[in-house]
């Protein structure tokens, strides 16, 4: 950062750019086909500029209607979706139940075989989440009328969970355009590269998944024509986010799509053409134990006591984040402040290890710790942790591998410890926690108390009850330590001062994209 910023903003771009708003991201876009959603935020946002989901989370972590005006349930098994009466496609065709049914059917078609999410909990689908090949409907998804759809699930599901996964990730696509396309051609369908009809605020003009997407405003957007006519997404390296912001090549960086390097935080803040925003802390750096390999609870506890998370937070994250135990971060409705995170206690850790030794633990064990090489901050933290653990007599071997390898290792269980950046959505911890703390999940940790508590969250709509259930889960996690929450990141978002009405945050940044404006 330093002095150079005082010399004023250096703008290497020519003035033709001024009416284009560029969003800088540091991850490539896997696809622009909503059926190919791969779980990355980048793909979700890039595609939902065109195709809206039923609902979306806003800054306050409340669900706001997109296509749906509301989703309700009475018994946590049947969910009623009311489609916004104003909702229309860009060709002025109204968005109807047909479109919703069609979109759900696509996700359940074995010919398409979507792997972004399987909807196996919906009545009428198999264990794999697919209907019989050739089916033209899912029995659990029915149209009540033109603007109302009813979905029945096999087991109980909290409304927030329903909304979070089915509501947010299934983007509604136009049946009247795509209805006749054979299902096995949907994924490679060229139409998605240049859709003629969209429901969202923007429509793709040109793209190169590894480098950029440029959008044009959908003048018929039912929530109002976007004020910015040209929007674009630009893929750069994390370090270039800073240069891009400084030079004006980038107007906005959102926390989950663009990962501004920790080292650059100060520099970004110092840019005088830029306003920065601290994101809601939700992305956690989780360290999972393979509890089948690291069986001794005392040893796992020793790891927890032996790491000085405060120092890490201060030094590596420059204080941008928080420390909690368990899955829930302070944001969101279910957080229970009564769970006080374990404090760094070297002596306690040593003592725990002594006890473990007495129980037959072999102190010469070297633990394989897998770390994502793409996460530059945590690779450094891992080195730091290795040094810290060494002090209490725990030997770990840090293996820095790329994400694919990490995932393969995670799946095969060939690890002792594994660190992954994981966003637990505050309103729906269930989906992730339930999977992670199971025989098939990464921790391979099974505990009936936890399972029951998690199930409890799904059968009630009472926030206090849910909070209580999650408290049980988190306190078990704190004592049994199948997972350590190293820190919760509050990412840095940034916005050019010429851009009005936009606020980069973890959730809801793009809900009002049609109102964005250039000064």
């Amino acid at each position: 950062g330093g002095k150079k910023n005082d010399n004023g903003v250096t703008n290497a771009e020519n003035s033709a750019t001024s009416d284009v708003v560029t969003i800088g991201i540091s991850d490539t876009i896997g696809s622009l086909n909503p059926l190919l959603m791969d779980g990355t935020e980048v793909v979700k946002y890039a595609t939902s500029f065109e195709f809206l989901p039923l609902v979306e989370l806003n800054k306050n972590m409340e669900f706001e209607g997109q296509i749906a005006s509301e989703i309700t349930t009475k018994d946590n098994k049947t969910f009623t979706i009311k489609i916004d009466p104003n909702a229309v496609w860009s060709d002025k065709e109204p968005i109807t139940s047909k479109d919703v049914l069609f979109s759900f059917l696509c996700w359940a078609s074995p010919e398409i075989g979507s792997t972004g999410m399987s909807i196996y909990n919906i009545e009428g689908t198999g264990d794999d989440g697919f209907v019989e090949a050739g089916s033209d409907s899912i029995s659990g998804v029915v149209a009540v009328d033109d603007k109302t759809v009813q979905i029945t699930t096999k087991t109980e599901m909290a409304l927030s969970t329903f909304q979070n996964i089915y509501g947010r990730y299934i983007l509604i696509i136009p049946e009247h355009i795509l209805g006749d396309v054979p299902k096995d051609q949907m994924l490679s369908n060229e139409w998605f590269n240049a859709p003629t009809v969209v429901s969202g605020p923007y429509i793709v003009k040109d793209f190169d998944l590894n480098h950029y997407v440029t959008y044009e405003a959908n003048e018929n957007y039912f929530k109002g024509a976007p004020k910015i006519k040209n929007l674009s997404i630009k893929v750069v390296t994390p370090s270039q986010l800073l240069t891009g912001l400084q030079s004006g090549e980038i107007d906005l960086v959102q926390q989950t799509m663009g990962n501004i390097l920790q080292e650059d935080f100060e520099s970004v803040k110092k840019l005088d053409n830029i306003t920065v925003y601290d994101g809601t802390p939700v992305t956690t750096q989780s360290i999972f134990f393979n509890t089948e390999k690291v069986t001794n609870v005392k040893v796992r506890q020793a790891f927890l006591y032996g790491m000085d998370r405060n120092i890490i937070l201060q030094e590596f994250l420059k204080g941008k984040g928080e420390i909690v135990d368990g899955f829930l971060a302070s944001a969101g409705p279910f957080f229970d402040p009564s769970i006080v995170p374990v404090a760094y206690d070297k002596d306690k850790a040593v003592q725990l290890l002594e006890e473990a030794k007495a129980e037959g633990w072999d102190p010469s064990t070297e633990y394989n710790f897998y770390v994502n090489s793409g996460d530059t901050t945590f690779t450094q933290v891992a080195s730091y942790l290795a040094a810290q653990f060494a002090e209490i007599g725990l030997k770990i071997k840090v293996n820095t591998v790329d994400l694919s390898t990490l995932m393969t290792v995670a799946g095969s269980g060939d690890f002792d410890l594994l660190a992954v950046q994981y966003s637990y959505i505050p309103v729906d911890i269930f989906t992730d926690a339930n999977w992670l703390l199971s025989a098939g999940g990464w921790t391979r940790y099974q505990n009936d108390e936890v399972t029951k508590a998690l199930m409890d969250t799904q059968v009630t709509v009472d926030t206090d009850k849910i909070r209580e259930s999650y408290r049980i889960v988190d306190s078990v996690v704190q004592t049994e330590v199948p997972m350590i929450n190293a820190y919760v990141i509050s990412g840095l978002g940034a916005k050019s001062n010429r851009l009005q009405n936009a606020t980069p945050d973890v959730y809801g940044t793009f809900l009002n994209v049609q109102d964005w404006e250039i000064k």
């Binding site: 950062g1 150079k4 370090s239 650059d264 450094q380 891992a382 820095t400 591998v401 790329d402």
Partner: protein
Amino acid sequence: MEHKGNMQRVTKRFMKHKLAVVSLIFLLIMIILAILAPVIAPYNPNQVSGGFSKPPSMDHLLGTDQIGRDMLSRLLYAMRISLFVGAAATVISTLIGVILGLLSGFIGGVVDSIIMRITDMVMSFPYILLVLVAAAVFEPGLWSIVLILGFVDWPGVARLVRGNVLSIREMNYIKADIAAGMPKRFILFSEILPNTIAPVFVYATQVFAISILDEAALSFLGMGVQPPTASLGNILNGAESITVLTSKFWLWVPAGVLIVLLVISINFVGDALRDALDPSV
């Protein structure tokens, strides 16, 4: 027993390249430093011994890195790793290259064609692509980098040796050996091999330089030597941030300069060796 007279001649000619002499001295010092790293490094390279990203001070002559490890110690160890990777990769590729080249040139015929086709293949692999794929596939680690780099560089050596063997085979002293009824192994190992060593040696210096650069590039891309093990490339990896680049010079300048100096010295030495070993002068 390499003869004194010959060695003297080579040494004398080498000495005329002043830059090369300076480079050689520099390299030797660096190699000694690298070997002695455990003894002379002020700190354990993986131990957090000071503040985070602190500029150079009396305690830490080159400052500390992002997690408070002593930069000087890390640099010494990094150099050790980089030199090791370079040297080991060079040894491997040179060995493979020499063996295949000798076989190819001496036996000829089908063996030659097969070896040359394989050489073509390896040479036609877009080289860093192969390295990248392999680095992503095989678990990244010191030895896999060494093996990958070693595997990638041998075709050049093989071709060089083969060419040499083919031309030496036509030399009259080989004919004289055949006429004197000397056995094949004598001709191969006692006559042909020693005469190809000099150019191979010169070539090996280039491979050495390239291997160090490649290791650095791979580590920089996060596919090479993995942290916490320090290598010159992955130290530089930390400098990708513009902030570090502009305001924390001690985190990247020493490593960058060291790579450049090591590689350029090796190149200078290799160049001078080529001159000194050239039998035609």
